[in-house]
Amino acid sequence: MPKIKMPKNSPSIDMTPMVDLAFLLVTFFMLISQFRAEEAAVIDIPSSVSDLKIPEKDLLMILVDKQDRVFFNLTGKEERVKVLEKIGEKYKVVFNAEQKKEFSNMASFGVPVKQLPAYLDAGSTDRKKLAEQSKGIPIDSLNCEICDWIYFSRKTAPKFRVAIKGDQVTSYPVVRKVMNYLQDDNIGKVNKFNLITNMETGPSN
């Protein structure tokens, strides 16, 4: 019986189109992706049917995570430094130039003012550890640091929108407390909030 002869093809195929495509995609993703600083807390946000886009800048954000810890975030480097200086003045904490720079570059944070210099000096791994151990920014009415952050931020940047980002299982009284501070005439003086949510595709009937 004659053997069936398989045509001897070269095992190497022309990869050029694939490589072209790959690099095209690389370029595409490189151009559209924007990096953002790492958040101090992992927050699993609830979803809603609202289709309002949240602005990227000019935003004052208060985050409340699973364990009801409160974090604070403000956009704009200049504004952040100004607010930090005012906070430092009030709490008699001195921040050096390097710490200010670090503060202007990072995202949300959740440590009391007294621990802030150490937090800013720490490297990224140490900082993560500090963030985990921290109890968040104090919101007690006797020691209301979040009030001061809100107050000075509102003074520095009155036009900024206010957003609240809470975890699905955050207990409501904590969020309510923060809202009360935000609404207070002597602190935040805002009555309009943006609750940050995930997109949900219409009512599911």
Binding site: V26, I32, I45, S48, L52, T197, M199, P203
Partner: protein, 221 residues
């Protein structure tokens, strides 16, 4: 992958006795470059976030204790639906006012979130009053089909609810989360307000009487 350097560059035979430069292949090994390319591709795909989070607008009433009691908007009790949000993703609702000094307390109705729970009740109640749900849904449809610009939806809605003939008899929903409610519950409830086209709603806090009512409802199931 692109061919390996197969250098057979004319060594060996010397035909004309002429010295020739070694002919090397023009092909270079592209494997590392391709590897790097795909590595970057993977990295950027994974780090890119496409859908930015959305936001839900919430406007709270201005806190002003100086407004005299008479000027505060009075809501007719039988059009006021109180929705109590509590633990275990449960909702209790009742109409009217829970005031122990004025007769018996209203009975609580239990519901869950989602299409078959609270939403059904809200849509039914909203429709009972001037067919509000259907009317607004019609407006929404007009926007969806392009018959009406999106910007005018808010105004049309406002006009519908503030019409003189309806103003005092539309459904008003008071959301009252208690201390056990989770943030997700509030967002869900506010979401239902949007889905069910509720004209007027407010986010308040449950009072003592209501807390007691919830506690009772939870013990005698």
């Amino acid at each position: 992958m692109a061919e390996m350097n197969t250098d057979d560059g004319g060594g060996g035979k010397k035909k004309h006795g002429k010295k020739r430069a070694k002919k090397s292949s023009t092909r270079i090994d592209m494997t590392p470059m391709v590897d790097l390319g795909f590595l970057l591709l993977t990295f950027f795909i994974l780090t890119t976030t496409f859908n930015k989070p959305q936001a839900m607008q919430l406007t709270m009433p201005k806190k002003d204790e100086n407004i005299p009691l008479e000027d505060q908007s009075k809501v007719p009790a039988d059009h006021t639906m109180n929705v109590l949000l509590t633990k275990d993703n449960t909702v209790y609702w009742y109409f009217g006012m829970a005031d122990p000094t004025k007769g018996a307390l209203p009975a609580l109705n239990k519901a869950t979130y989602g299409p078959n729970g609270l939403r059904k009740v809200l849509i039914a109640e909203n429709n009972k009053r001037h067919g509000a749900y259907d009317a607004i849904e019609k407006l929404k449809n007009e926007v969806a089909t392009g018959k009406m610009p999106k910007d005018s939806l808010g105004k049309k809605k406002g006009d519908f609810f503030s019409d003189k003939t309806r103003k005092t008899s539309i459904l008003v929903v008071l959301l009252k989360p208690d201390k056990d409610a989770k943030y997700k519950n509030i967002v869900d409830a506010l979401d239902e307000m949007a889905i069910c086209n509720i004209g007027t709603y407010a986010l308040l806090e449950s009072n003592e009487v209501e807390n007691q009512m919830i506690a009772n409802a939870q013990t005698y199931k």
